[in-house]
């Protein structure tokens, strides 16, 4: 129970000079709050990147055509890649899970008296494999529907809620630009993509349907696609797959050795991860700067504890005269310093929670995530600062000679 009395003594002593105690704590408060906020920002950014990579569907490449290059000048016409390229990549490059052709357009979708402007994408079932995207309701395309270019559609969650609300969309007919399609499936919600666009605001048709009805068939490249999205199995060597795809496509396009690629392969997960790493480095740096302020706060604590010991020399003398051992005095001042730091740390945590909550509420920054172990660590660390910076003043107090302390003016 002695600890309760020591705590009471410490709080009484700190209450004597409330303003001074608060100002002293401020260093710790700011330090702890800053460290937690920085770490929370870092965790938030990391979480966002993880989500983006996950919604992208794991280890994904984008293969697009490049601008045609002639005599150093780029012409506007783009080298078209096509469905055959996708099939070939899937068949011939080891480690590839699926290669999905993709064609996009945009336009209005009308149901009854409701209409919604959305993205109209032409795909086949491989797209759902690559994107790691599950059906919430209904079914995928049949191969007959794909081959024939049937007027069937699978819609995203956002489009479903905009057009159908509570009613069941399966089997309903909607008008896409200028033709009717029947809805056969609804996809599970996927949320925002890396650029913050809603991925669920979409209608998927068989790729042939989009080509025939909306984008038109190119005479030179009848099976053209906008890009091919390729997914690799987990744990595969992404660089190797990229090289293999590149080799295959160069061969197929008959690009001579030393000639420029007429396609581009982008490892998207890697791009996002790289960006995340930059954010991480930045946040880590800021967290370190914040820790420095925590140490500066600790020095402030030490300073005030030294002043406090000097001010209360007579009290120390009296306590010794009535029987306090040096260790009793040591603990008294040490606990005072720990209480000061602990309280500062606690307030700092509260402020950090407030900040992160407000930030998330008003969508400032990448969003913060406060992890419990970071909070516990900060509290522990501020307590440790109390011990470290409080020890010397407390030791100094405990080493006073009783008579000198009693007679101190």
């Amino acid at each position: 129970m002695k600890i309760v009395i020591l705590l009471k003594t410490a709080i009484t002593a700190l209450k004597v000079n409330v303003l001074r105690s608060c100002l002293t704590m401020l260093g710790i408060i700011i330090g702890v709050a800053a460290v937690i906020i920085m770490v929370a920002m870092g965790a938030g950014a990391q979480q966002k990147v993880d989500d983006q990579i996950k919604s992208l569907g794991g280890n994904v490449f984008f293969v697009t055509g490049a601008f045609r290059q002639s005599g150093g000048a780029r012409s506007a016409s783009v080298v078209k890649i096509n469905e055959d390229d996708a099939n070939l990549i899937e068949k011939q490059v080891p480690g590839v899970e699926a290669a999905a052709p993709y064609l996009s357009a945009s336009g209005q979708v009308i149901y009854g008296n409701l209409n919604w402007s959305t993205e109209i994408d032409g795909i086949d079932n491989r797209y759902f494999v690559v994107r790691n995207w599950d059906m919430a309701n209904g079914r995928e395309f049949t191969s007959a529907e794909i081959n024939r270019g049937s007027k069937v559609a699978i819609i995203g969650e956002r489009l479903r809620s905009e057009l159908f609300g509570a009613s069941d969309p399966i089997g309903q007919t909607v008008r896409v630009t200028n033709f009717n399609v029947t809805i056969i499936g609804v996809l599970a919600a996927k949320g925002q993509d890396a650029r913050g666009e809603d991925q669920d605001d979409v209608i998927f048709l068989p790729i042939k349907t989009v080509r025939n009805k909306i984008t038109g068939v190119s005479a030179t490249n009848p099976k053209s696609v906008r890009f091919i999205q390729v997914s690799a199995y987990d744990g595969e060597d992404m660089d190797y797959i990229e090289d293999e795809m590149s080799r295959l496509l160069r061969q197929r396009m008959r690009i001579p050795v030393g000639g420029d690629d007429m396609f581009r392969i982008r490892n998207v997960s890697e791009m996002i991860a790289t960006r995340a790493e930059t954010i991480q480095v930045f946040n880590t740096l800021l967290a370190w700067v914040a820790s420095v302020s925590l140490v500066v706060g600790g020095i402030g604590i030490m300073n005030i504890m030294l002043v406090s010991v000097t001010e209360r020399t007579r009290e120390i003398g009296l306590r010794m005269a009535v029987g306090a051992k040096p260790s009793d005095i040591l603990y008294q001042f040490l606990i005072e310093s720990i209480v000061l730091c602990g309280l500062g740390g606690f307030i700092g945590v509260m402020i950090a929670y407030g900040f992160v909550f407000m930030g998330n509420q008003y969508d400032i920054g990448a969003g913060g995530i406060i992890e419990t172990q970071v909070v516990l660590l900060s509290l522990g660390f501020s307590g440790l600062i109390g011990v470290f910076f409080g020890y010397y003043p407390a030791l100094k107090a405990s080493r006073l000679a009783p008579i000198d302390a009693l007679r101190y003016e």
Binding site: M1, K2, I5, T12, V16, R314, E315, G317, L318, R319, M320, A321, V322, G323, A324, K325, P326, S327, D328, A401, P402, I403, L406
Partner: protein
């Protein structure tokens, strides 16, 4: 004759003042027995304060020996000295030395914090001590809310809480007016009547007259040790 409570033999104390050595006590022999009321007198620099510090276990003699209740003090560690001060000696100071912004009750309880007395007894003991000095109705007051005489009585209650063998009072009336001084002295005389050994350090001959025995120091030496044939009775004077 029984063994003395305090047995001082050739006690010397030297302070270093820069390069110079100053002998504050130059070899004092002294016996004080249980139940005595002793006044230690002398002008400032006479060595009386040094003597009090040694008797109160606040300091250690440079040479010679001091035995307190049969125990040689020079052989004790800092912690053991603290424990002797806690258990066997009660201190009363000129400036009261109460903790500010702390109730009378908590001030009196302070020595128990450093004792082995179980916490459940603290309140009872402190209340008892405050009632004994006539402050039963002011236990919750802070020193700032008490008069000088009342503060000194709180300090005396604090000195009594561990039922010490001896009370050491350093100029206990120095900060008080004559009337309150008398009240405090009456309290000491009553305690002495109950068998407490009291050592009173003062430079006022008037105050020393309340003690049964007077020791006079000058230049670090005990120059006179006499029984007081004409003890003043504070309780009677206070009423007059």
């Amino acid at each position: 004759m029984s063994q003395p409570l305090l047995k001082v033999r050739q006690a010397k104390k030297v302070y270093a003042m820069g390069d110079e050595q100053v002998w504050a006590l130059k070899g004092v022999d002294l016996d004080i027995h249980q139940g005595e009321f002793v006044a230690i007198m002398g002008s400032s620099g006479s060595g009386k304060s040094t003597m009090m510090n040694l008797l109160g276990c606040l300091d250690i003699a440079s040479e010679g020996s001091i035995a307190f209740a049969g125990q040689e003090l020079s052989s004790l560690s800092k912690n053991e000295l603290a424990s002797v001060r806690n258990q066997r000696i009660g201190f009363v100071f000129q400036q009261f030395n109460l903790l500010p912004r702390t109730s009378a009750l908590d001030n009196v309880t302070l020595p128990l914090l450093y004792s082995k007395v179980p916490e459940s007894d603290w309140h009872k003991r402190a209340t008892q001590c405050l009632e004994n000095v006539g402050l039963g109705s002011r236990m919750g007051h802070h020193p700032g809310q008490l008069s000088g005489g009342q503060q000194q009585r709180v300090a005396i209650a604090r000195a009594l809480i561990n039922d010490p063998l001896m009370i050491l009072a350093d100029e206990p009336t120095g900060a008080l007016d004559t009337q309150t001084g008398l009240e405090v002295m009456a309290l000491f005389q009553a305690l002495n009547q109950q068998g407490k050994t009291i050592i009173l350090v003062t430079h006022e001959p008037d105050i020393a007259q309340f003690a049964k025995r007077k020791l006079t120091f000058r230049d670090g030496e005990l120059i006179s040790d006499e029984q007081n044939s004409n003890v003043r009775q504070a309780a009677l004077e206070g009423k007059a």
